[in-house]
Amino acid sequence: MHISLPGRSASDRRRIRSSLEVVPFLLPGALLFVIFVFWPMVQGIRVAFYNWNIMPGAEQQFVGLDNFRRALTDPVVRTAFFNTFFYTVVTVPGQMILGMAVALALNSAIRGKVAWRALYYLPVLTSWVVASFIFKYLFGGSGAPVNYIFSDLLHLLPENVNWLQNRWTAQVPITLLGIWKGIGWNMVMFLAGLQSIPKEMYEAAAIDGANRWQTFARITLPLLRPVLLFVLVMLTIGGFGVGISVQLLTNGGPMNQTQVLVTYMYDQGFKYFDFGYGAAIAVLLSLILLGLSLVQFKFVRGKVEV
């Protein structure tokens, strides 16, 4: 009792001093974060409630939920949402399965691991702009490599296809690009996860007579769960953020049929200067993503502990 008072006040003083000492460490980063990340987020929500006039200093007209109402009834938003969803549903499992396959192959103590890893990683290093133009070239009109190989050479397609000029055929280069560009990243993540699994686990399974599939399903997958969750969340965010490839491959056409949420938002903002409407689409996109991330975290974390 007699030592508690002075001891406490001294530690209090140290706490306060420590709190003040941290200020110069945090201040520069905090300032930039607040101005260029946090403030735009807040502004984005605000702008979505206005019929925003882009002239500087102009009077802004508050329109309540009009922009959101418009977005929810806009057939192009529906198309864009569907296309975005389709892209995510196809490319996320596609990348994860293929990336896992490569990671498992490389993890079985095979020769030339570093070289293989580099080759599979090359598309990740390519910028979206360059990758999009490569695919635009590969899938371009008649005589382009894909048409040449699959139609003229192998006759798997009855005739040359105008891949980029039709809503459904355009999904082929767009999703293939997404998968191709993502396999390497998945591979690196899964490889790191696989290497963190203790060898004894596999030895024990082998002694118990487990076959390869059982070992994979009962040991590898459960132990990879944290990595799988992280990858799933990151890829879902990335999938819903698809846009550069779509803008460069089809620019949303023909007639808005290949729009995704990001390209349609970009067009509303920077083509038609309808900032309020564009911001409303962006808010909806963010809400979808936050919801999905929370669901994914809950769903997988709930099972991971035991």
Partner: protein, 276 residues
């Protein structure tokens, strides 16, 4: 697990087949860039050029201010790296070694902000940048790229700093040193691998950034490479030889970084998930 010889061979074959599919698009790009353009691309398209030539690379580099755009990209990416390394290491050290009210709540908020993709704030970011008179400026881009990286690299470096032995730092405190000396003379030197990772990753992020460079830079002389290549393609619609030559030049820094710093890549990618 040990594999038998036949299954090892099969595995190598499968890996080779997969790698061929992965690399084929690049072979087409390279072949096209090495082929002289004669108003039409060769049919059938060739995986290997018949008479390779470097004229496209020379033309791409010398035309349309391409060298200037490369310099812009280099300036923006270089400054971003410097700013990110300094700011994120400071912030991360603050979170790792100090105790202050609301610490974990603020940190959670940082993590939370990463769930909103940066493209979703393109429109309000444009407005904020305009109000701050930072539209059409390279330093404006640097500030955006730096700020957009703070959450992720703070998260990454905090984990790294916390893994450093605290005893060493306490010994210095006892000897009369303060937190600054520790940060500069202990934490930073010990974190070189982690900081290299941050440097490489943030360089590549800035080097390839598309949406903000597209929406914020209107002045032709201030463009960065991704936007320049896009406009290049617009100008030379079917001349893929030229577009791909320019693209390959733009790909060189990332590829070189990867070749010489592969281990930092792997560390950088996985430290957020596997250890954290």
């Amino acid at each position: 697990m040990k594999l038998s010889l036949p299954s090892r061979l099969l595995l190598q074959l499968l890996l080779a087949a997969g790698a061929f599919v992965m690399v084929t698009p690049f072979l087409y790009m390279l072949s096209t860039a090495l082929t002289e353009y004669a108003y039409t691309l060769p049919y059938p398209p060739k995986l290997f050029p018949e008479s390779p030539t470097f004229v496209n690379f020379i033309e791409a580099w010398t035309s349309n201010r391409f060298a200037r755009y490369a310099l812009n990209s280099l300036l923006v990416s270089g400054s971003t790296v410097a700013a990110v390394v300094v700011l994120c290491s400071l912030t991360a050290y603050g979170f790792a070694r100090f105790d202050f009210p609301g610490k974990e709540i603020i940190f959670r908020f940082l993590l939370f902000s990463m769930m909103v993709p940066s493209v979703a704030t393109m429109i309000p970011t444009f407005l904020v940048m305009r109000d701050l008179r930072l539209v059409d400026s390279l330093h404006g881009l640097v500030m955006l790229y730096t700020s957009g990286n703070i959450a992720y690299y703070t998260f990454m470096l905090r984990g790294f700093f916390e893994s450093l032995p605290a005893e060493l730092e306490e010994a210095i405190l006892v000897d009369g040193g303060n937190r600054w000396t520790i940060y500069r003379h202990v934490a930073l030197p010990l974190s070189k691998p982690a900081l290299s990772t941050v440097a490489i990753m943030s360089f590549l992020g800035a080097w390839d950034e598309y949406w903000w460079a597209l929406s914020l830079i209107k002045n032709e002389t201030l463009r960065t490479l991704p936007i320049a290549i896009r406009l290049f393609q617009g100008m030379h619609a079917t001349n893929y030889s030229l577009v791909f030559a320019a693209s390959i030049i733009a790909m060189l820094p990332p590829v070189l970084f990867f070749v010489f710093g592969q281990k930092y890549f792997v560390q950088g990618l996985t430290s957020g998930s596997v250890k954290g």
